[in-house]
């Protein structure tokens, strides 16, 4: 069944788009990530113009992260104060990101910037996560008690910064500078890459800020949801790149897929899940990296003078 999209102005197969949403939703339910880093490349691969894929990806992220954040809110595993501080940084970052997005688009380098960022971030976080989870898997095989990611007393440079604030839910006393910066960075990425940024936020909160693991996912989902919402409104307002029909199809698939993902996730151990996610993230990064260096089918591409890629 084909459907003509009003903003992307092309005809797509409804089942393929919903299927894409389901597959990504399954993975996001399984790993507790928004799935934006998978949906945007998939849409671009399906010939959706990159500008629309990125913006619409952010819209889709809201649905999946809202679903997740709601569950965490009921279990009281969200640090609302920390989330709000991250959010302030995130809103500013998203504002900057949408501006950079428009600039890159008119320079004709948006595709390259998006691809490079993806390759860089996905391979780095994928590599780090894989390293950590494989070690933890090996340790538990040796009969260890599993890892405690939070090592109290092990302070790093982050804890020496001024402007400290107390976050009781996370049992943290930390400077707000790294918190705001982290939020800002995620906001910029959300706008440029159409991702929620969970795959960066989660490791950064664990390793950099030393937030307890049980509140990390909920808090990150809470902040991602709002950052993605701000991004969606800004993209719709300034770049007119949100295709609501496309986003809705993805959301339907995503919401259904996520339920099965959560179910499957209960059958796996934490370190196994992290290793699988790491492999997934890493392989998307490598795949996009190959695309950059491989000789393209045509060295020419068409765009309208306002920067919109055809």
């Amino acid at each position: 069944m084909f459907l003509h999209l009003p903003i992307a102005e092309l005809s797509v197969n409804v089942f393929i788009i919903v299927g894409m949403g389901m597959a990504v939703g399954f993975l996001s339910g399984l790993f507790g990530v928004g799935g934006g880093f998978l949906i945007t490349p998939l849409l671009i691969f399906y010939n959706i113009p990159p500008a629309i894929a990125v913006a619409t990806g952010a819209n889709q992220v809201i649905a999946s992260s809202f679903s997740g954040a709601l569950a965490h809110y009921k279990r009281r595993t969200i640090d609302l104060k920390l989330g709000t501080m991250l959010l302030i940084g995130g809103a500013l970052g998203s504002l900057a990101g949408v501006w950079i997005f428009g600039l890159l688009r008119s320079l004709g380098q948006l595709d390259l910037a998006v691809s490079l960022l993806y390759v860089l971030l996905l391979s780095t976080t994928g590599g780090l996560m894989l390293n950590e989870s494989v070690r933890s898997l090996l340790r538990s095989r040796k009969g260890g008690t599993g890892t405690n990611l939070r090592r109290p007393g092990a302070h790093n440079w982050v804890h020496g910064l001024p402007l400290k604030m107390r976050f009781p839910d996370s049992r943290l006393y930390v400077s707000i500078i790294p918190v705001l910066l982290l939020g800002f960075l995620i906001g910029v990425l959300a706008a440029i890459m159409g991702v929620g940024g969970g795959f960066i936020m989660v490791p950064a909160m664990i390793y950099l800020l030393r937030v307890p693991t049980n509140v990390v996912i909920g808090t990150s989902l809470f902040q991602i949801m709002f950052t993605a919402a701000v991004t969606t409104v800004l993209q719709a307002w300034t770049n007119e790149t949100i295709d609501i029909v496309l986003a809705f199809l993805l959301m339907i698939g995503g919401v259904v897929g996520a339920q099965f993902g959560v179910e499957a996730g209960r059958k796996l151990r934490g370190d196994q899940l992290r290793a699988l996610l790491a492999i997934l993230v890493l392989s998307v990064g490598v795949r996009l990296g190959l695309e950059l260096v491989r000789t393209p089918a045509s060295v020419f591409s068409l765009a309208s003078p306002t920067g919109e890629v055809e």
Binding site: M1, H4, Q60, S67, A229, W237, V255, A303, S304
Partner: protein, 282 residues
């Protein structure tokens, strides 16, 4: 549902075609006074199966039929099949930036770009035979007939005037032609114009409009050639626009971008929440 639609459209188009052909045939037979050029006795008429195309949610490409008639044809020339018809459908003209990627530290980067001033978004040609057998290249170039001879600079050169195009510009123009052709946006069908019967003066052509058709004014230009010389030309307009739900969303998105964004966020939240409620498992 898509399987059934084209058939019903086809029936309508068939009925239309008969009516139109009858009408055009009638017009052609009394077309003495409407000579297209001095000294020519043949008249030339065309009609479109529809003058408006509405892009709806289930739009997936469309075929438009052009009907036409040659009035007062010379039977001898007709028998020798020396009347040729070329019909071209030009999409709206838009400036296009063509970018060329080059290797830069091992990575393919957009480096050089050229702006093509006026390229039709879509272009489709149908003719009675191979274009180069109908008219000399110079004429085809002047009339923008054929993908290789389609003009992209937005100007109309006079006959005999050489084309002042630098080799660099030509390289980017050809890249555009290739890309558009490979995506099915520029097409040529060298046997797309059919006479309804042998030695008939009535003809029809089906021109294909792709699924990612752009909105705006499309122009159909038809030319009648007699022994390689152009003796008649006609123009008809075809308006393409979004209709219904598609048009509403598009208009809302461009006029009230901020509200549209808020609505998109609300839709996402409701969908996410409904998903939780429906599949409640914890």
């Amino acid at each position: 549902m898509n399987g059934r639609l084209p058939r019903s459209r086809h029936t309508i188009s068939k009925a239309l075609s008969i009516a139109l052909l009858a009408m055009i045939g009638f017009m052609g037979s009394r077309g003495h006074a409407q000579l297209s050029e001095v000294g020519q006795r043949e008249s030339f008429e065309i009609g479109l199966s529809q003058t408006q195309i509405g892009i709806t949610s289930d739009f997936n490409g469309e075929t438009i039929t052009v009907f036409g008639a040659i009035g007062d044809a010379d039977m001898r020339i007709l028998r020798e099949q020396r009347y040729d018809v070329v019909i071209a459908l030009f999409g709206p003209l838009r400036p296009v930036v063509v970018r060329e990627k080059q290797r830069f530290f091992g990575v393919w980067v957009n480096r050089v770009s050229k702006t093509i001033p006026a390229a039709p978004v879509t272009y489709s040609v149908a003719s009675t035979r191979e274009l180069r057998d109908i008219a000399p290249a110079e004429t085809l170039r002047r009339l923008s007939l054929g993908i290789d001879t389609l003009r992209l600079d937005g100007r109309t050169p006079r006959l005999g005037q050489p084309r002042p195009v630098s080799s660099q510009q030509a390289r980017f123009e050809n890249a555009l032609r290739d890309l558009k052709s490979s995506r099915g946006l520029y097409t040529v069908d060298i046997s797309g114009v059919d006479y309804t019967a042998a030695e008939s003066t009535l003809f029809r052509a089906d021109l294909f409009l792709p699924a990612d058709l752009s909105t705006g004014e499309h122009v159909v230009r038809a030319y009648l050639f007699k022994q390689g010389k152009i003796i008649g030309q006609k123009r008809a307009d075809l308006i393409v626009r979004k209709v219904g739900f598609e048009a509403e969303i598009d208009r809302f998105a461009s006029e009230h971008g901020f509200l549209y964004g808020l609505f998109a966020v609300a839709l996402a939240i409701v969908t996410g929440w409904l998903g939780r409620v429906m599949f409640k498992r914890d």
